[in-house]
Amino acid sequence: MRIPILKLHNYLLVSIQIDLDDQTAIDFQEDLLHNIHKSGATGVVIDLTSVDMIDSFIAKVLGDVVSMSDLMGAKVVLTGIQPAVAITLIDLGIHMQNVATALDLEQGLIKLHQELGE
């Protein structure tokens, strides 16, 4: 299963709408980095509105993809994290402090726009 990655001007948009298994999460990590490389995107929004649970593995994959994208010069914003997901992540002891977040896709795009000054 592959997660679709859409291009919008200088940004890439991803909406995760499936229950992520480990392999799909790892494939997504690679696909996103290849897409950044290919498109020259400067910003990425990963929307998690439809994701109803994030365990420690998926949190690690997401945190890593943010760091990896950063190394390549693309800024990632995670958006739409549900209340239940935020609560369980903190219960698990996962704080994802170095990750930029926003309430929804719209706010995520505004955030990228502000930070990248484009």
Binding site: D22, S56, K60, I87, T88, D91, L92
Partner: protein
């Protein structure tokens, strides 16, 4: 209503199957969305441990009732290598797999009851309970 069931953990995809089953049971039992997420996440961590360290095992679900309260018991068991140092795996941030090390201490915080029995060389059984509030 079925009061007990189980999912075998053998393939990576079984981790998803196990947590979806747990979420469905939790929802049917009347858990709110936040506790459903807690239960699904705890199962995901337990099932992944089985897959990573023991290769094979099972997650069992049982609906329990006690003194006017209902709960879901989740038991994850395997016949894998077992855990040498139990106190170490219960420390936050300890990991031998390169993960976040949130696994078992995280599961303990997500659930209301947590018990672990492990025999090195024989296997591990982790019992947890979440009560409906």
């Amino acid at each position: 209503m079925i009061t007990s069931s189980s999912v075998r953990i053998k393939k990576e995809w079984d981790i998803v199957g196990a947590r979806q089953m747990g979420r469905k049971l939790a929802k049917d039992l009347g858990f709110g969305t936040i506790d459903q997420a807690r239960i699904a996440t705890a199962i995901s961590e337990l099932a992944r441990n089985i897959y990573l360290y023991a290769e094979e095992g099972k997650v069992e679900y049982e609906i329990i009732e006690e003194m006017n309260k209902k709960g879901l018991r989740i038991v994850a068991s395997d016949k894998g290598p077992g855990i040498e140092d139990l106190s170490k795996v219960m420390e936050d941030g300890y990991s031998t797999s390169g993960g976040l090390g949130a696994g078992l201490p995280g599961v303990k915080r997500l659930m209301d009851f947590f018990d672990i029995i492990s025999d090195p060389g024989k296997g591990t059984t982790i019992s947890t309970i979440k009560w409906v509030r």
